[in-house]
Amino acid sequence: MKKSPQERKLERLLRSSKFSASGFMGNDRRNLWEIIDEDASEIMRAGKTMEEIAQRMRQITDTAKKGLGDWVHVSKTIKASVDDNRGTIPCPWPHHIRSLKRITTVQHIPTETIIRWSELNIHLIEEHGFFEGRGSAFRIEPSILVDILFPDE
């Protein structure tokens, strides 16, 4: 099936630098639906849903927000800091949602792995199941994310 004009436009937007300097797709050659599908099966294998993940991310950001940029111990294995930048960034999907340019940096204390996400990442995962393309500045690997967010399972 041909892609509808809306889908073509969306993918073009995601690859462009309309919203962020290097776009949302990185150097990923897969098309948008392939990326979303593969990440979705990864999440499914881990026994989680997009909502659970987004909810946990939001929880961590909200806790760390109170640190005004300092590291905050969120749980035994996680510390996080939240950093605000000026302005807002729109979601590339056509529904007029805007996110703060708020970036949460999370360190997994035992392994010292560091991941980070923006407010927009949370929205993209929750609403669109999109973890961004490989090579994008804000790509999050679903498997690493799940391991850090839900350490007990």
């Binding site: 462009s16 630098s17 309309k18 919203f19 962020s20 300097a21 290097s22 927000k65 109170k66 005004l68 940029g69 300092d70 590291w71 939240v82 950093d83 605000d84 930048n85 000026r86 302005g87 807002t88 729109p90 007029h96 703060l100 340019k101 970036i103 980070r116 500045a137 804000f138």
Partner: protein
């Protein structure tokens, strides 16, 4: 022979006729002629060619409505009041308008096409906003993620701005970005300098404009800016002042302090500057210098998470807590005016402690990063 000449002639003829009709239609239908735009009830009248969007037409007339998306209808900043001639609200505008704005006739200027005479109302200061071509003649690294850019205007006078206001910088197309975007940065320099302004910019991860400024802009390059914008400025009273800023939020406050020095302003003032570690500290010397020049000014850098072993004698903790401790010791807290610049989180926390200490909200002014 005629057997194929006739059909081909007929079909080509029809094609040509249709093409001619379309060309003609384009001339006639999409030609809107000249239209009049009346700004602020006769303050200014423009006669312009119709057909373009209100935003882009105003820009060609050197009237700059703030807009971050460049007219694509995704940022919702370019609102103007159109009192006559705009037609019904378009579906592309609806998401950005609340009920009150709809009632007042507020519209997105990038979505309105100039088809007929319009009457619009815009804040008077927008008429003073101009575009300037500058050269970047100095780039200073302050910290690992903060730089200062000095922009000297190429010809003529620089804008008259009120200390605390901001300008928009145009990031042109470059390797990574195929579109022009505008981003806002506060002026940090001494207002006595009439030829140049300085901007203090913190790198935004994967940001379009900061990536351009940090990685692509070189000394000697040309930069386009327009401004000034904003309502964040020092109120003309003699009340004591408490400034609270974090990171690059120091910029407008530095500008205000220079201005106070130039006018021999003897207001009592104190500046709490919040940063995370000693690596984030910058402009310390300049602030110390201002302390000697302004007898009643005090600069208090506050570090929230000093590295172990760092030689730091100053205040430690949350900038808001240190400011609160200070205010609690003042007996004239109610007189203070608060000026804040920083992240939304910091502003919210500061507003909370300032009001708790007895400063009413109408005397707290801020430039929220949003």
């Amino acid at each position: 022979m005629a057997s194929f000449v006739v059909p081909i002639t007929v079909i080509s003829g029809i094609g040509a006729i249709l093409a001619a009709v379309l060309v003609f239609a384009e001339r006639v239908i999409t030609n809107y002629g000249d239209v009049q735009v009346d700004i602020n009830q006769g303050d200014k009248k423009l006669t312009v060619r119709g057909g373009g969007s209100l935003l882009e037409t105003l820009t060609t007339q050197k009237i700059f409505i703030p807009s971050a998306c460049g007219g694509r209808g995704t940022c919702g900043y370019c609102k103007v009041k159109v009192s006559e001639g705009a037609g019904p609200l378009l579906p592309t505008e609806e998401p950005y308008m609340d009920a009150q704005e709809r009632g007042e006739g507020i519209r997105l200027s990038c979505q309105i096409k100039l088809r007929n005479d319009l009457k619009i109302e815009i804040p008077a200061e927008l008429l003073t906003i101009k575009e300037y071509l500058c050269t970047c003649d100095e780039i200073i690294d302050y910290t690992y993620d903060i730089k200062q850019f000095r922009l000297t205007v190429l010809d003529g006078q620089l804008m008259k701005y009120t200390p605390g206001q901001y300008v928009q910088v145009l990031a042109p197309q470059y390797d990574k970005s195929n579109e022009e975007v505008y981003r806002a940065y506060s002026i940090s320099s001494d207002p006595a300098d009439k030829r140049a302004i300085e901007l203090i910019v913190r790198r935004v991860s994967d940001g379009i404009c900061t990536t351009y400024l940090f990685d692509y802009l070189k000394k000697g390059d040309k930069v386009r800016i327009n401004g000034p914008y904003g309502r964040f400025y020092l109120r003309d009273t003699s009340a004591p002042v408490i400034f609270i800023a974090g990171g690059s939020g120091i910029a407008p406050i530095k500008c205000m302090l220079h201005d106070m020095k130039n006018n021999n302003n003897a207001r009592k003032s104190i500046f709490f500057f919040g940063i995370r570690t000693t690596k984030d500290l910058f402009l310390e010397q300049e602030m110390k210098q201002l302390e000697t020049e302004l007898p009643k000014f005090k600069f208090v850098p506050v570090i929230s998470q000093p590295e172990p072993g760092a030689p730091w004698q100053g205040a430690v903790g949350r900038v808001t807590n240190v400011a609160e401790d200070y205010l609690k010791q003042q007996d004239d807290v109610g007189n203070y005016e608060g000026y804040l610049c920083g992240s939304p989180g910091m502003i919210d926390a500061s507003v909370e402690i300032l009001t708790k200490c007895g400063i009413t909200e109408d005397k707290i002014y801020y430039d929220k990063f949003s």
